[in-house]
């Protein structure tokens, strides 16, 4: 029973953590290399990792998506998609996809003369599923070593854990006052029932045994 409880809570917090890791904004310091547009098939289950722009029919099975290619200071390649989130989840209310595409094209730089940009994005890159994080904003930064403090994430997570803590404390208080006494009651009567069953079984068993042929 203890293992099931642990597995449940670990699984629960993994899902919560994954949800926040996917949804909250993250910043990458990158050099923007290129942009491209590619037709994407949106037929399989990875559809959930792509946006539904407002002017797009939900039944559309493929459409053009803009991408921004970038390189991190350590040389690893990053590819972002550039899509409106519109009025849907996650609540970034991004409508300026075309503007961002223009900014990204304007921000291209070469390895010889690098210009560093901070790309705000959410989402995951997964090569096997061909999914990409969605770029939300591009800002020039002084250099590749700039440190960005994620104030938005700090505020959202603080509020979230404050709410969780408030619910948890109230639930514990409620359980101690209302549920534990009842459970103890049930436990007592269950034990009593067990005892009396044992007695019955004793007598019943003896009676059944009396019908068996004795060898």
């Amino acid at each position: 029973m203890g293992y099931i409880k642990w597995a449940f809570w670990i699984g629960f917090w993994l899902i919560v953590g994954g949800f926040f890791h996917y949804t909250l904004p993250q910043h990458d310091i990158v050099r923007i290399v290129n942009t491209y547009e590619e037709r994407q098939d949106l037929t399989d289950w990875t559809r959930v990792f792509w946006s539904v722009p407002d002017d797009q029919a939900e039944s559309l099975i493929n459409r053009d998506v803009q991408f921004i290619q970038a390189v991190k200071p350590n040389g690893s390649a990053e590819v972002y998609r550039n899509e409106d989130t519109g009025w849907r989840w996650p609540p970034y209310f991004k409508f300026d996809t075309a503007n961002l595409y223009t900014e990204a094209n304007d921000a291209k730089s070469t390895k010889a003369a690098p210009e560093w940009y901070s790309i705000t994005h959410y989402g995951w890159r997964n090569e096997y599923w061909s999914i990409f994080p969605n770029a939300v904003a591009i800002k020039p930064v002084a250099g590749p070593d700039v440190r960005i403090i994620p104030w938005v994430n700090i505020i959202i997570l603080t509020v979230f854990f404050a709410v969780v803590w408030a619910i948890w404390v109230r639930w514990r208080r409620f359980r101690r006052a209302r549920i534990d006494p009842v459970l103890e009651d049930i436990g007592d009567s269950f034990e009593a029932a067990g005892d009396s069953y044992q007695n019955t079984r004793g007598r019943f068993g003896r009676w059944v045994d009396s019908w068996k042929s004795k060898r």
Binding site: W87, F93, K94, F95
Partner: protein
């Protein structure tokens, strides 16, 4: 535009539920405080009328009106996000 309509409708319903719950809770808290005040001061006379008057004062108070923040804060938040994401 369908997505906007859906956001508005769902948001309005959710916020209304929160608003009603907070209103009822806040009023009951005020009622409890008034009762405690009555008992502490060992007042005499018509307790119900006194409670009623106290709650009526509460209905016109700033504290009661602050609950409208349930609607105001999310709207301001969304407007701020839209501005920050699209115009800066």
């Amino acid at each position: 535009m369908f997505a906007l309509a859906r956001l508005l409708v769902v948001g309005f319903i959710v916020l209304t539920v929160i608003y009603v719950c907070v209103s009822l809770y806040s009023r009951s808290v005020r009622r409890g405080k008034l009762k405690a005040e009555w008992d502490e001061a060992q007042m005499t006379g018509d307790r119900e009328a006194w409670l009623k008057q106290g709650l009526e004062e509460y209905d016109h108070s700033l504290r009661r009106k602050l609950i409208w923040g349930v609607y105001v804060i999310p709207v301001v938040l969304v407007a701020t996000i839209i501005y920050v994401v699209n115009h800066s």
